[in-house]
C-alpha cells in the first residue's frame, strides 16, 4: 500500500466538512473525485460517518446535566477533604512511630542499666504510702514492693495508651 497525498484532498475535506459537497463544488473537483481512488474513498467514508453521527446524535438519550453537576461537586468535596486530612494522618502516624521508638529506647536503656530508677522510685514512695493505696500489700517486703509498683505503673501506662488508641480509632471511623 503506497501512501500519497492528492492535491485536491484538502479542498475536498473542507467541502465535506462544511457540507458543500457535491452541489457547492465545481465540475473540476467532481470529475477528479470520480477518477481518483483516494478522493472517492474520502467521500464515501466521510459521508457514511457523518450520516451515522447525525443519526446517533438524534437517537442519543443523555442523562441529566444537573445530576452530573451534583456528582462532580460531591467528588470534588471528597477529594478536598482527603487532601486536607492527609497531613493530619501523616502527623498521627509520625507521632505513633516516635512514641513507639521512644518507648523501645527507654525500655532498652533501662534494661541495660538494671532498672536503677525502680530503686529510686521505691525510695521516693515509701512502702507505707503504698500500703495506704493498696491495703492488701504487706508492709516491709522491699523487692516485692518494687515489682508490684512496676506492675501497677506498667498497667497504668498500658491503660492510658489503650484509651488513646481507642479514641484515635473512633475519631478516624
Amino acid at each position: 500500500m503506497t501512501f500519497r497525498t492528492c492535491p485536491y484532498e484538502k479542498e475536498l475535506t473542507q467541502a465535506l466538512k462544511s457540507g458543500h459537497w457535491p452541489k457547492g463544488c465545481g465540475p473540476e473537483l467532481r470529475a477528479h473525485v470520480d477518477a481518483c481512488g483516494n478522493c472517492s474513498d474520502l467521500v464515501l467514508v466521510t459521508q457514511t460517518f457523518q450520516d451515522a453521527q447525525s443519526e446517533s446524535e438524534r437517537a442519543a438519550l443523555c442523562g441529566s446535566p444537573s445530576l452530573l453537576w451534583w456528582r462532580a461537586q460531591l467528588r470534588r468535596r471528597n477529594a478536598a477533604t482527603e487532601r486536607v486530612s492527609r497531613p493530619i494522618t501523616i502527623a498521627q502516624t509520625f507521632a505513633w512511630v516516635v512514641t513507639v521508638f521512644v518507648g523501645v529506647v527507654f525500655v532498652a536503656s533501662q534494661y541495660r542499666h538494671g532498672l536503677q530508677w525502680a530503686s529510686w522510685w521505691s525510695e521516693l514512695v515509701p512502702p507505707r504510702a503504698l500500703h495506704l493505696l493498696l491495703p492488701t500489700l504487706p508492709i516491709g517486703s522491699g523487692q516485692g514492693d518494687t515489682n508490684l509498683l512496676l506492675l501497677i505503673s506498667g498497667c497504668g501506662v498500658l491503660a492510658l495508651l489503650s484509651a488513646l488508641v481507642v479514641y484515635l480509632a473512633s475519631e478516624k471511623s
Binding site: 500500500m1 501512501f3 466538512k17 472517492s40 474513498d41 474520502l42 464515501l44 467514508v45 466521510t46 459521508q47 457514511t48 460517518f49 457523518q50 450520516d51 451515522a52 453521527q53 443519526e55 446517533s56 446524535e57 438524534r58 437517537a59 442519543a60 443523555c62 442523562g63 446535566p65 444537573s66 452530573l68 453537576w69 456528582r71 462532580a72 467528588r75 470534588r76 477529594a79
Partner: protein, 167 residues
C-alpha cells in the same frame, strides 16, 4: 463554569461524545458509562482557556484516555471478543442505511482505527487536533488514517455490493 453554563455545554456536546464513544468502543452501554465519567472528570479538573471549542477538545481527550484505559484491561473485557451480532442486538438505534453498512465494517476495524476514523470523518478534527486528543504523533496519524480509510472504504463497498445483490 457554573451549573447553567455546564447544562448548556452538556446539551450541545453530549450526543456527539456519546456517538463517538459508542462507535469507537462498539458498546453502547460502555459508552454511557464512559461519557458520564468523562463529564465528571471534566468538571473536577481545571478547564483549559479558549472557550467551548477547547472545552470540547479537552473532553474528547478525557474520553479517549478512558477508552485507552478500557482497552488496556484484560483481553476478556475487550470489545473485539464480543461477537458482531451481539453488538448489533445491543444497539437500540434505528437501523438506517448508513449505519447498517457502517456497523459491520467498523466491527472489522481495530479500536484505534475506529477512534481515528470517527474523530477525522465524523467530528471533522484535523490531524493536529487528533494528535492533541489521542496523544499520537501527527505524522503517524496521517499514515494510520490513510490506511484505515482505505481499509474501511473497501469494506463499505463490499457491504454496499452485498446489500444491492440481496435487494
Amino acid at each position: 463554569m457554573d451549573s447553567d453554563a455546564f447544562a448548556g455545554f452538556y446539551q450541545r456536546s453530549a450526543p456527539a461524545l456519546r456517538a463517538y464513544l459508542a462507535r469507537a468502543s462498539g458498546n453502547p452501554a460502555l459508552a454511557d458509562d464512559l461519557m458520564q465519567e468523562s463529564y465528571l472528570r471534566f468538571l473536577c479538573a481545571s478547564h483549559p482557556e479558549g472557550g467551548e471549542v477547547n472545552y470540547r477538545r479537552y473532553l474528547y481527550r478525557i474520553a479517549t484516555n478512558l477508552l485507552r484505559d478500557h482497552w488496556r484491561r484484560p483481553r476478556a473485557a475487550c470489545i473485539e471478543d464480543v461477537p458482531e451480532r451481539l453488538l448489533a442486538a445491543r444497539d437500540g438505534l434505528s437501523r438506517i442505511d448508513s449505519q447498517a453498512i457502517l456497523d459491520p465494517a467498523l466491527a472489522r476495524m481495530r479500536p484505534r482505527e475506529r477512534q481515528l476514523l470517527w474523530l477525522a470523518h465524523a467530528e471533522g478534527y484535523s490531524h493536529r487536533e487528533i494528535s492533541e486528543i489521542t496523544g499520537l504523533n501527527a505524522a503517524g496519524i496521517r499514515l494510520l488514517l490513510f490506511r484505515a480509510r482505505r481499509k474501511i472504504a473497501r469494506l463499505l463497498r463490499k457491504q454496499i455490493d452485498a446489500d444491492r445483490r440481496k435487494a
